[in-house]
């Protein structure tokens, strides 16, 4: 059995056309079996504003077996291992169906971020905290989101300056001198 390239290509095309869902998928390399997905953290949760990278591996039997998914971005959640990103979600296991897709699986991950299932934990420590001290759980989850999942603003500013044709070193140096102010940094570079 070989990888069903036709179906995977169709899925990739469909995801790239659909911007509304917010999930993204890209090839990791030249093969169709290693992909990377991005899931936006849902609104009104401690994960809001985060951009979660998900490692996706497709078996040759896909879509007759579920895609293997794992969070690369660190996340504090009862059903996601805080150590290695392993996910406990029924549709990625025994509830998988070949009518589901990579996109629906990523949307399921987003739904999982919105509604943790502490009774079926992947990370017992997180699940215990979720049940015992919800306030502390939310603070910790938010802290992890800010530390690991929210794209760094300074990186974005640096990228914008680099897009104007300056080297990374020059952009970083100018930003440092300008205390992070983009306009002052630009004036220094252009002046």
């Amino acid at each position: 059995m070989t990888l069903d390239a036709g179906r995977i290509n169709k899925e990739l095309k469909e995801i790239s056309k659909d911007v509304a869902s917010g999930v993204e998928v890209q090839l990791r390399g030249s093969g169709l079996n290693k992909l990377v997905g991005y899931v936006p953290g849902p609104k009104d949760t401690p994960y809001e504003g985060g951009r979660y990278e998900v490692d996706i591996n497709l078996d040759e039997q896909y879509p007759f077996v579920p895609p293997k998914m794992r969070f690369v971005t660190k996340v504090w959640h009862p059903n996601i291992s805080s150590a290695n990103g392993a996910i406990c979600l029924d549709v990625l296991k025994d509830q998988w169906s070949p009518a589901l897709t990579i996109k629906t699986a990523l949307l399921s991950l987003q739904a999982l971020l919105s509604s943790p299932q502490p009774d079926d934990p992947q990370d017992a420590v997180v699940a215990k905290q979720y049940l015992d001290d919800r306030k502390l759980f939310e603070r910790t989850a938010r802290h992890w989101t800010e530390a690991f999942a929210i794209p760094k603003n300074e990186d974005e500013v640096c990228m914008r300056i680099m897009e104007m044709g300056f080297s990374k070193e020059a952009a970083q140096k100018a930003l440092k001198e300008a205390n992070g102010d983009e306009n002052i940094a630009l004036e220094k570079l252009l002046g």
Binding site: D4, G6, R7, K10, Q61, P63, F64, V65, P98, A99
Partner: protein, 133 residues
């Protein structure tokens, strides 16, 4: 010696399509009128089969799913999968094999007969391809 033929004009006299209520198979995402990934020919070699739940799939696709899953459920609605009777028969795998044997026999029959050339070209043809003598 090689010939090349240019088709200047053609008249379609019939067309076929699977009336499956959907364009693509929910498993392989290929059109019902096309082939699943391991199918060679569309049409009778890649038939569409219905469950009692009215969901349709390429026969190869649903059979592969049922063989790979411990629970025999429809991929669309998760109802227990049961072939809808009165269409392709209750044992579709068997059915398909019968047909293939039939076409093999036909090929042997047609051997050496110039007029039957188009039948012998079609490896996976079925009863509908039988030439009228």
């Amino acid at each position: 010696m090689a010939f090349s033929i240019r088709i200047c004009k053609w008249h379609g006299v019939a067309a076929w399509t699977w009336d499956a209520g959907d364009d693509v198979c929910g498993i392989c995402r290929s059109p019902f009128d096309g082939c699943p990934p391991d199918g060679k020919y569309p049409g009778d070699d890649s038939p569409v089969i219905w469950g009692v739940c009215e969901h349709a799939f390429h026969i190869q696709c649903i059979n592969k799913w049922l063989a790979s899953s411990s629970e025999q459920r429809c991929p669309m609605c998760r109802r227990a999968w049961e072939y809808k009777s009165g269409l392709e028969g209750d044992q579709p795998g068997q059915d398909e094999e019968d047909r293939r044997e039939g076409s093999d026999a036909m090929e042997e029959q047609g051997e050496g007969d110039q007029e039957d050339e188009y039948v012998t070209d079609e490896e996976g043809g079925d009863a509908m391809d039988t030439p009228v003598h």
